[in-house]
């Protein structure tokens, strides 16, 4: 059994995120010869005197020209235990929204710090964002130890400073590793130049961190995606509700409630192409049939009658603004997508903008521009069935869409019911 694990790299510009991913792939022998030849060629053309492993993920022409990461790149590698999806995100402040994108589904965030520079503004910003996005495990990689004389003192200084800062964040699992991404120390192989460090390497951590409890297995949540009516003779009366389990363990025979109608019925069966299942848990895609013939359509939600999500048109949420266009402000209307439901939402109240460096709440501000984060109250045209984002990333998140351009402009994490 191999588990699927999602990782995002974060940290300030040039701290070595792309290089670390290149190194992980290279040392675990997951790079192919033709890719390596291409990277060697490109490094030579750019005049670097070593093989620039960052070029393995910086795949766009503009990125190679500027030597920076602009957009998220996804890379994949596997060990006998785990199959990893790596999102390499940009450190540049201008592309913070891409960092948010890459972290939204991550189980583990690797936060890179340049040992010479220590904790920077952008390190704090990214760590905060990772905690806000609910990434359950954070690994601070103190990089470029080769340029800091492999100094234990320097490493501990940075660890202390970060720990101090992290107490103000909502982080449950925090680890520290001293590395050199460029030279490979403590990435896959244990460093001989830092004998004072006895902990696991980055790869060992990635393989060992327990992710089994990252998903909500308590609150049954099943947003209906698609109604399946076969119109085939063998399945004359079949009516199934397709969706991906967003929370809890759904069992055949369970009593369930359909929202918004409030009708209750029982799960008759859990169907898949490969045969019926007795139970389904996140993140399985299944088809549920119900005992009673009630009206259920896309956007509805199945839950247990005694454990219902919030149902409200008014929500309070942290919103990360992702648009270069007009800023978010009170009175503005957007398209909103929450689980499988689209609606319209209006900004009713601007509560505060957060300074992500100091975590100071600026209550005098009234707008959010590109890469800014703040708390707002929204009112939607239809009730949303949600949980707090901290409790469930699937039912606690939404995106805002500009209805004129159809572009996704905001990412929201629900903090609670607006009242």
């Amino acid at each position: 059994m191999t588990e699927l694990v999602r990782i995002a790299t974060t940290g300030s510009v040039d701290d070595g995120k792309s290089t670390l991913i290149g190194r992980l792939l290279f040392d675990s022998k997951q790079i192919f010869e033709d890719q390596l030849v291409a990277v060697e060629d490109a490094s030579r053309k750019r005049g670097t005197d070593y093989v620039d492993l960052a070029l393995l993920t910086d795949g766009l022409r503009a990125e190679r020209e500027q030597g920076i990461t602009i957009d998220v790149a996804y890379r994949y590698f596997a060990t006998p235990k785990r199959r990893f999806v790596l999102a390499d995100t940009p450190g540049h402040i201008q592309y913070t929204r891409n960092m948010v994108t890459g972290s939204s589904t991550a189980n583990i965030a690797l936060i890179l710090v340049d040992a010479r520079l220590g904790i920077l503004e952008q390190t704090r910003r990214h760590s905060f964002l990772a905690s806000l996005l609910g990434v359950p495990h954070l690994v601070l990689c103190v990089n470029k130890m080769d340029l800091a004389d492999w100094s234990q003192e320097r490493f501990e200084e940075i660890v202390d400073e970060f720990r101090d800062f992290a107490t103000r964040l909502d982080i449950h699992d925090l680890r520290f590793v001293p590395i050199s991404a460029l030279e490979g120390d403590n990435v896959v192989n244990q460093s001989e130049r830092m004998p004072w460090y006895h902990g696991p390497t980055v790869l060992e951590l990635l393989e060992e961190i327990h992710i089994g409890s990252d998903q909500n297995m308590i609150d049954v949540r099943f947003p209906v995606q698609y109604v399946i009516r076969p119109h085939r003779r063998e399945y004359q009366d079949f009516r199934g509700y397709a969706g991906k389990v967003a929370g809890g363990l759904i069992k055949q025979g369970d009593e369930v409630m359909v929202l918004p109608s409030g009708f209750t019925t029982k799960v008759r069966s859990i169907e898949t192409f490969d045969g019926p299942l007795e139970e389904a848990a996140p993140p399985m895609s299944v088809v549920i049939t119900l005992e009673d013939d009630i009206d259920v359509s896309r956007g509805d939600m199945l839950c247990r009658p005694h454990n219902q999500p919030h149902a409200s048109q008014d929500i309070d949420a942290m919103v990360a603004w992702m648009s270069e266009g007009p800023p978010l402000k009170v009175g503005a209307k957007y398209g909103i997508k929450h689980t499988t439901r689209w609606g319209k939402a209006m900004v009713k109240e601007f509560q505060y903008r957060l300074d992500v460096n100091t975590l100071h709440r600026d209550e005098t501000s009234e707008t959010l521009s590109l890469n800014e984060i703040g708390r707002v109250r929204l009112r939607s045209t239809t009730p949303l069935f949600f949980d707090e984002y901290r409790r469930n990333r699937e039912t606690g998140s939404f995106v805002l869409v500009d209805e004129a351009t159809n572009v996704t402009v905001g990412a929201g994490m629900i903090t609670g019911e607006g009242s």
Binding site: T2, I70, V72, Y76, A78, S104, P283, S285, K337, V401
Partner: protein
């Protein structure tokens, strides 16, 4: 109960099915691109699973260069017939005859790039608003950057610097008339995942993937199949070899290599020790330039 499978394949399968359902639920007129290759066979399989026990709720489209392996066309027709699906063929030959595109000339002529016009033309003609493709992010560095729901403007173009943020599993497929979305349900699968899944599920594939005897000639380090569509260069010579193909596309740009792998399991063993990517091993079209794929994608290629 379903057969036991490694949970990462289960997770990937569930993610893909979710993507496919989401795209169909939010579009008017979806279509699935099917080349007969393993990736499109996988997407088709996942699409069937996504809507089971209902039939596939959209047609399947093949952009046919006219330079295909016979085995692949046979496989295509058989698969479509079994599913009772609706097949649309967008023909590059027809585009050439109608003067919409001009055929390249010379021994290295390929219709690969001409496919873009036929694809965009068919999307326009049938008013497709969601086009499913089998691209994977591990295939190529420009693809590694692409969204699962990838917006195309009215000219079918991709703008890599201006992609919509894509968070959680909340896909935004909104678009105006004349624009469309390319949707890539197997973005997060690797070549190895695809083979393991094919093995487990017993997905059928065209025979050219498996070791067979064939008349070939060597070009750019690859073994190209002898065919009426490729003219030999002065130093090239046809010989017989036991080969297989790691990707299947147009015969003019897909190269094979010597291999004895005759079963899916043997292919898995071969892939797991291979030191070359499948594109590097078999696609002449990616060898032209470092950013060849990014450029083709911008124009509207798959």
């Amino acid at each position: 109960m379903a057969a036991v499978q490694p949970s990462h394949l289960r997770a990937l399968e569930s993610e893909s099915i979710h993507i496919i359902r989401e795209a169909v639920a939010e579009s008017e007129n979806p279509v699935l691109l099917f080349s007969g290759g393993k990736d499109s066979a996988l997407v088709l399989r996942l699409a069937v699973k996504a809507f089971w026990p209902a039939r596939l709720p959209f047609p399947v489209m093949h952009v046919d260069t006219g330079h295909n392996f016979d085995e692949v066309i046979d496989f295509r027709d058989r698969t479509i017939a079994e599913l009772e699906a609706n097949l649309i063929v967008a023909s590059v030959q027809e585009a050439i005859e109608q003067g919409r595109v001009v055929e390249e000339t010379g021994p290295r002529a390929s219709r690969n790039r001409l496919q873009t016009e036929s694809l965009l033309n068919a999307i326009d003609k049938h008013r497709f608003d969601v086009v499913f493709g089998g691209a994977r992010r591990d295939e190529e560095k420009a693809r590694a950057k692409e969204r699962v729901f990838s917006f195309r403007d009215e000219f079918g173009q991709w703008d890599p610097k201006n992609q919509r943020p894509e968070l959680w599993s909340l896909y935004n497929g909104r678009h105006r008339n004349g624009e469309h979305m390319r949707v890539f349900p197997i973005s997060n699968w690797t070549e190895m995942d695809v083979w393991q899944y094919i093995d487990q599920e017993g997905v059928e594939l065209p025979s050219v993937y498996f070791s067979h005897r064939r008349r070939v000639f060597e070009r750019d380090g690859m073994l190209m199949a002898e065919s009426p569509y490729l003219r030999l260069l002065p130093n090239e010579e046809v010989f017989e070899a036991v080969v297989r193909f790691r990707t299947v596309g147009d015969m003019t740009c897909t190269g094979g290599f010597e291999s004895r792998a005759a079963t899916v399991q043997e292919i898995i063993d071969e892939v797991s020790i291979s030191r070359i990517t499948e594109r590097g091993a078999s696609r002449a079209d990616d060898r032209t330039a470092d950013a060849a794929m990014e450029d083709r994608k911008r124009e509207g290629y798959f």
